[in-house]
Symmetry: C2
Subunit: 496 residues, 2 copies
């Protein structure tokens, strides 16, 4: 079947899936495709247009979501009988023109790997703390006490800055972690994820660029993209960012801030030492570019000596520091904090107010209760013990199962190991096999701003216990071995 009613535009225009969807809509409107008509198969259309099958599938999914077409498993895709057509007297459907930024964000979201929900699969992909470790009952009691004591006043709008009691407690903990901060310099926010977006907005307007490590936290890439910022990637080199390349990047006038994860880097799991941190601050200071330090796993060191955070070493106020309870406790309270001084603090409050006025006081006050009662520290003791054992189980299993040239990091805290396979493997291409084999991982490509192929992957020991980690690595090593047998060339170079 030759499809003559669709042509795609020159590259660089609208996303191809949209062009396909529009062509189908137009063909229906012009009666070229009648109600009930069968659409070409995804494979046919992809071949004819020379595009990836996923692109066609996305177009068909979008049309199905609008009710324009219907899919029947094994039969194909058909024009809906109830499809609105101009002649049918139905209300004309509105085809919104989304902001170009939003179109780009949708493309970014579509590129995220989708994981099936096989209950048996070992989940090494997600950086979400294990719910079986949450002190949910203790938190419920803290929340209940807080609301009983606080009464209706807790249900008012909070100040955009957040509960003073929790800020006081956090400032004390930060001071003990070599991060001198005044409670008044903290702005509570909706998890570190909102903290990233707010901190970026402090310095960067649309069209500006933000320097960031590559690989880096994929949701930081999403936040920057959604704000209309360009990524100015700086490669990781060893445990931290390449400082020479950082200096070059920060010298570019459009680069207005540098986002970094110096401790238990996501996705790499590495931590920089004091010398690297001092040198990094020197570079930033010379360039006059502020630093956004993501300290989301600050409380999760299970081994080795802590290194002071950048914000604690810097005395000039050029480092904005992000904290979150989402990884050290649980994400469901949606509480994080940003530390910033002077005008930065004032500007953060204005941005927070313009974003959503304020956060939910009951959860902040419950967390304050939970922290001050000692429950949080008790939880951390247990969690760190569990994480250390899991880290050992994962790294031992990798040593036992993976090819000899593979390399991985050995984090002293947090949840993630970066496994590098080298050569021409794109780990994204292993994902389907891995899902079939019952193990999920995060392909390296998703931590690059342009989604480029990566021979590495992030393995998380957040959700899987030791037994599951061993099972998962065994399955993963089979997938890798099979792919190697299939002939994918693998270089045997080792990291420098």
């Amino acid at each position: 079947m030759q499809i003559d009613w669709i042509r795609t535009e020159a590259p660089g225009g609208r996303p191809v899936y949209q062009q396909i969807a529009d062509a189908v809509r137009a063909a229906i409107a012009s009666q070229r495709l009648a109600d009930g008509a069968r659409l070409p198969t995804i494979r046919q259309l992809a071949r004819q247009l020379g595009v990836h099958r996923d692109t066609v599938a996305t177009a068909y999914e979008a049309l199905a979501a609008e009710g324009v077409v219907e899919s029947a498993v094994g039969r194909g895709t058909f024009v809906s009988a109830r499809s609105p057509s101009p002649g049918a007297g139905a209300a004309p459907s509105f085809h919104p023109t989304l902001a170009p930024l939003v179109e780009r964000l949708l493309d970014f979201e579509r590129a995220r790997p989708r994981f099936g929900s096989s209950p048996d699969a070992v989940a090494l992909h997600a950086l979400v703390p294990d719910p079986s470790l949450y002190p949910a009952e203790a938190f419920r009691r803290a929340l209940n006490r807080a609301l009983a004591r606080g009464g209706p006043e807790l249900l008012l709008y909070g100040s955009p800055q957040g509960d003073p009691g929790l800020r006081e407690l956090l400032a004390r903990r930060m001071r003990e972690a070599a991060l001198p901060v005044d409670p008044d310099e903290l702005v509570l926010c909706h998890g570190a994820s909102q903290g990233i977006a707010l901190a970026l907005r402090l310095f960067c307007g649309p069209g500006d660029a933000v320097a960031l490590e590559e690989p880096t936290y994929n949701n930081a890439l999403g936040a920057a993209l959604a704000l209309g910022l360009r990524a100015a990637p700086v490669p990781m080199r060893g445990d931290g960012v390449d400082l020479e390349r950082l200096e070059q990047t920060l010298a570019r006038p459009e680069v207005k801030a540098f986002y970094t994860i110096p401790t238990f880097h996501n996705p790499m799991g590495t931590t920089t030492d004091l010398d690297h941190r001092r040198a990094l601050l020197e570079v930033a200071h010379r360039a006059g570019v502020p630093v956004i330090e993501d300290g989301y796993e600050m409380d999760l060191r299970f081994e080795g000596a802590p290194v002071p955070p950048l914000a604690g070493i810097d005395a000039s106020g050029m480092v904005v520091h992000l904290f979150s309870f989402s990884k050290s406790l649980f994400p469901g309270a949606r509480v994080g904090a940003i530390s910033a001084r002077g005008r930065l603090r004032e500007a953060l409050l204005a941005l927070k107010q313009a974003s959503d006025l304020s956060d939910a006081l009951p959860l902040q006050v419950a967390l304050a209760e939970f922290v001050s009662s000692g429950e949080y520290d008790r939880h951390l003791l247990r969690l760190r013990r569990v994480l250390r054992a899991r880290r050992d189980a994962l790294c031992d299993a990798l040593a036992e199962r993976m090819p000899e040239w593979a390399r991985w990091t050995r984090p002293e805290g947090g949840y993630q190991v970066w496994l590098e396979l080298f050569g021409e493997i794109d780990t994204h291409d292993l994902l389907a096999d891995a899902v079939a084999a019952g193990v999920l991982f995060a392909p390296g490509s998703q931590f690059y701003h342009d989604g480029r192929p990566s021979s590495a992957m992030r393995l998380s020991f957040a959700m899987a216990d030791e037994e599951a980690l061993r099972r998962g690595v065994a399955r993963l090593s089979e997938v890798v071995a099979n792919r190697l047998r299939d002939g994918t060339p693998v270089a045997t170079r080792v990291p420098v």
Copy 2:
């Protein structure tokens, strides 16, 4: 004392207060102003520079916040002894360059009226529901039950779309309110305030314009400003927006969306009829411009027949509807909802995820419990009764006390009355007298994108009971009468 170390730039450059603060910093750095030196008084400097005293005060406050200067009541402002100076060996202080958008947002925030916290003052300024009416105990029990039943799973990240149970309940309520919506077409968000920001981002990128009624909700103006959007104001005319002017405005190519509050308009309290709504949708449809309908007071009608929301009348999917519990229950749960179809819903989810990943499930599930148990409807019955009595008390007091040419609206729901005094009064100028007399109101100027003087004010009956409303209006009428005796010219024209 002639101050020769400060000059302000030509208009259009950086905010003047910043130029002043920078000049002071530079004078300290160059030792022109020594530690402990006295700065010129606010009055002196304002006179010399030909700027408002508030501008100088803002500069001095910013410097004091940084610790650069110190103020002593009755003595003046001095260079701090501990002020960091380059020669003193202290760490050089970082003077951040904020994104230009943020500077504009800070200027907008500074223009908000500041209200003293006199406990005796009658609060007619704030649109915050009265905490003495919150069913806080019932909500605490619902939250406690929800957490006990839901356990650790409730403390995971939720989906960006929010709890399916609450969406189901909300969709049912909306259908009963003539707004046919599927649970899958709802995206829960962090109050309608976040809903406004997300909905604007769907259609408008930096540099685009959003059409909005004037006067309008001041935080919507702030949200647009923070996103780098220009306001394209359309005047209110009677109960709703002037449709001819709307048509002209929506024809401008940079206008990408129209934000409107058709029911219990904020700040005016008015509601448009079905004919106006149909005509408005016609205008929007002809222009191809989507509509963002703020339905934040949907559940608060205490009189008269409900008018279907725009999103219920429109069948094309061009209306994005916002709902919130913040005014009908309490703001502290920070739960609102956006209804949107097809690609709009998909884009909203991507924007929500890039903003803060997801909201707190415990509060959403507790609200679902609270709604399904009937507690929410019981609360609404009581609240509407109270609000109606307060509306009557406020309007009766205005009729008794205000000059005969004054006019005000009589809302059929919600919390606010718009009082128009006409003539050359700028109600912002009455604020200091009113605070001194023990009554607070929201000056009309804050509901205009450019903060232009307004002879109107918003009076809220959210927080004050009937007795307090009568007392407040009595005080307010004295303030107005005094100002008239002082000779402010007052026109006696009446509204057309």
